[in-house]
Amino acid sequence: MKYAILCYHAENVVCAWSKEHDDEVMAKLSVVLERRAKAGQLGPVARLMPTTAATTVRKDNEPALVLDGPFAETKEQLLGFYVFDCANLEEALDIARELSEANPGGAHEVRPVGYFLDGSAPT
């Protein structure tokens, strides 16, 4: 079975970390990831940029409504995620709209990825 592990934290606290502290945390995480990569267990890893960089496509309107900011409702739950390579935000939003048409209702939050591993060990 594949498991996705989702990381939550207070953004205003994490964004205020000094570079040294951030590096320290990332280094400790790398140790964990490296061990799991060696065991062949590691899938893709993504550290997302802050929610201030997010844009949300709401699908309950026609055409879909594009809003600045993260998905902030509590009525819906996180059901899955995709990672795409895009030239810019506009292209990412186009993909989100395509997905919305195929899968009606709810919303898609589009968030740039700050740090990404494709499943191989961190370097």
């Binding site: 207070a10 205003n12 606290v13 964004c15 205020a16 970390w17 000094s18 570079k19 502290h21 940029m49 802050p50 929610t51 201030t52 960089a53 844009t55 594009v66 809003l67 600045d68 900011g69 810019n88 935000l89 506009e90 740039p112 700050g114 740090y115």
Partner: protein
Amino acid sequence: MTDLAWLDAAVTGARPQAMAALLRYFRDLDRAEEAFQEASLKALKTWPQNGPPRDPAAWLIMVGRNVALDAIRRERKSEALPEDEAALSDLDDAEGALVDRLDDAHYRDDILRLLFTCCHPDLPSTQQIALALRVVSGLTVAEIAKAFLVSEAAMEQRITRAKRRIAEAGVAFGTPGPVERSERLGTVAAMIYLLFNEGYSASGGEAHVRKPLCEEAIRLARLLLRLFPAEPEILGFTALLLFQHARADARLDADGAIVLLEDQDRALWNRGMISEGEALLDKAMRHRRPGPYQVQAAIAALHSTAGSYADTNWAGIDALYATLEHMQPSPVVTLNRAVAVSKVEGPEAALAMIEPLASKLGGYFHFFGLKGALLAQVGRVDAAREAYDRAIALAHTTQEAAHIRLHLDRLAQDAGQGKRPRRKAP
């Protein structure tokens, strides 16, 4: 992170929200600060025991308000009230209701008001910044004094004076309308930019104490952006700060001397910040409501994404500066544009462009620095030397002066090696 460090980070993170709400309740900066202080002390006692609350800001607001209300009652009745530990115990129920209220739109006006209060037009900009660092960011007076290179006593006095001024003027407590809100937002962004520049224009040895000013400015910009996620100028503003701060590690060499953009080791630029800046700028541009911060961010983006100084898209930068000149005409903008023009059309064109600025920028270091460089490029060595001498006389820091002296030395070297071109009329 140790428990204490976590607690500290949580209290600091919650401070703007909590202070903003407390200022709304008490309409008095000192009272709000005392209330927050008391609440933080109680957090220090109870959080390690009971675990952190679900919403630290809500907890601090609730406790701070209770403590301050008790203090007010005590002052009025001049009699002691029982300790408020009982009030603390039903916090869990109250917290939920308070969190709901925190999501209301008026809550973001609270934080904007708190920031805006620090920007009172009667206060000189240095006092605005110092007050924001103290009240909103929660830096100690000692920390602020160190960053501004003044004694603690002097900074204490500066902040006290600023607070008195604000208390006399009164805080604007009405809910702002859309126009007023947007004006406040502009004023607050300008103050945060001043704070950033205070850290950015750091000279050598002080860099390590001034860098936190830039970081604090970015933290406040992010805060504004969370409150106003769809304001393109705030997106552009935050992007601009990120692009500029991304170069911090490359801007000074080991001796603390300034390294110009063209000589910077681009491997030292913070790629994470640059990508975040690009993402924010991308979001801003979707609104098709350009403004000066977005244009400046776009200029910074072209610099940040160029592989080398030579590979920079100077034509793009020239065009963006032309737009900025149109939006916000200023001799300094034209001066900056002249750098791009010198790359696209050559130094003669740039010299012609800056010539009319002489009367307005006669006391500006960078004007003479650029003039000297352009004159040197066209071989007018004596005129270049003259301009460099003026620049040195106008330098604000020893680093700035040292940098110009380096150019003077190069001029002298070139002349010594017989490279000196035929002297043209100055």
